[in-house]
């Protein structure tokens, strides 16, 4: 309780507004009370900071400009306009978002038609591949796109001449 009384008078003490007796009493208290002393030092620091700030000389015209801006009433928007376009950035953002989502769906999520077309192309490719391997070597077909190769080696040399039997007697 005593401390609260002293801390309330600290600013008055710093401004030199307290009578001598009261000021001496507070100073004596500050010597024995750590928390009040800390408060006093903190206030001193703040005063010091404020004292260091530089005052800006504002031009008289600036004040009249600010005053006129404050006094000028805001433009009233019609009900329909406020309802339809509450803020220009809201529809703009919504439109941009819609474009991004649509393009994402279009680019990355294949539609049913695109999937069907793709499967057709890949099936055609698989059939061509099967046919190609069929002409090159022997394999069994197990449905479209499935190849089980038995004796087809892409590196085998079919044109090489058969070598004679090295063990044949001369």
């Amino acid at each position: 309780m005593e401390c609260r009384i002293y801390t309330e008078s600290l600013t008055a003490l710093m401004d030199g507004e307290l009578p001598g007796e009261e000021a001496s009493a507070i100073r004596a208290h500050l010597l024995v009370c750590r928390s009040c002393d800390a408060e006093y030092r903190s206030l001193l620091f703040s005063y010091d900071l404020v004292g260091k700030t530089r005052m800006i000389d504002s031009q008289p015209a600036a004040w009249s400009l600010i005053e006129s801006r404050i006094r000028t009433p805001q433009e009233k928007r019609g009900f329909l306009r406020t309802f339809l376009f509450p803020n220009i950035w809201v529809p703009v953002t919504a439109l941009a978002g819609l474009i991004v989502i649509t393009s994402f769906l279009f680019l990355f999520v294949p539609s049913e038609n695109r999937s069907v077309a793709m499967r057709q192309i890949l099936n055609k490719y698989a059939q061509e591949r099967d046919r190609e391997f069929e002409t090159k070597g022997a394999f069994t077909r197990q449905g479209v796109g499935t190849v089980r190769v038995i004796h087809y080696n892409p590196f085998s040399d079919k044109d090489s001449k058969r070598k004679g039997n090295p063990f044949k007697a001369e």
Binding site: V109, M118, R119, I121, L122, F133, T146, V147, Y152, P154
Partner: protein, 142 residues
């Protein structure tokens, strides 16, 4: 007499180098042939950890561009066999290695189509579409 002798020498040196190149190619081809059989056997026996190193031995053999289709065929056959065994990841890895080894856009396009086919079989339609688009792009710029 001297001119015809020189001409004969030049022709002989050319044919010798051609013969040497043929011999080199025969060696490379023979290695690839054996290695391909190994790869297919490894896949058949489900020794998947050895498939990629064995395939790399073929892919790093420095095939001439005129013979690149053989590398592509090797990759397609091996990846088809892997896909049959539902080892899609290894099939993709093998095709990726093959893609690093081939140089013509035609070969790359074929390999990308193979990748698209694997994705399609695996139910990855979005990815399949990407690979197919890449294949089409490469085919358009041969």
């Amino acid at each position: 007499m001297a001119k015809s002798f020189t001409a004969a020498l030049v022709m002989m040196s050319f044919s010798l180098s051609w013969l040497m190149a043929q011999d080199d190619w025969e060696k490379t081809r023979s290695i690839a042939e054996a290695q391909h059989e190994i790869v297919m056997l490894l896949i058949k026996n489900k020794q998947y950890d050895k498939v990629l190193p064995a395939s790399k031995k073929i892919l790093t053999l420095n095939f001439p561009p005129s013979r690149e289709y053989q590398l592509v065929d090797h990759a397609r056959l091996a990846s088809a066999a892997l896909t049959e065994q539902q080892n899609y990841t290894l099939a993709h890895q093998l095709l990726d290695e093959a893609l690093k080894s081939v140089h013509t856009n035609k070969s790359k396009a074929t390999l990308y189509k193979e990748k698209a086919l694997i994705c399609s079989k695996n139910g990855q339609d979005g990815q399949a579409m990407k690979f197919l688009e890449e294949a089409v792009r490469l085919e358009e710029n041969p």
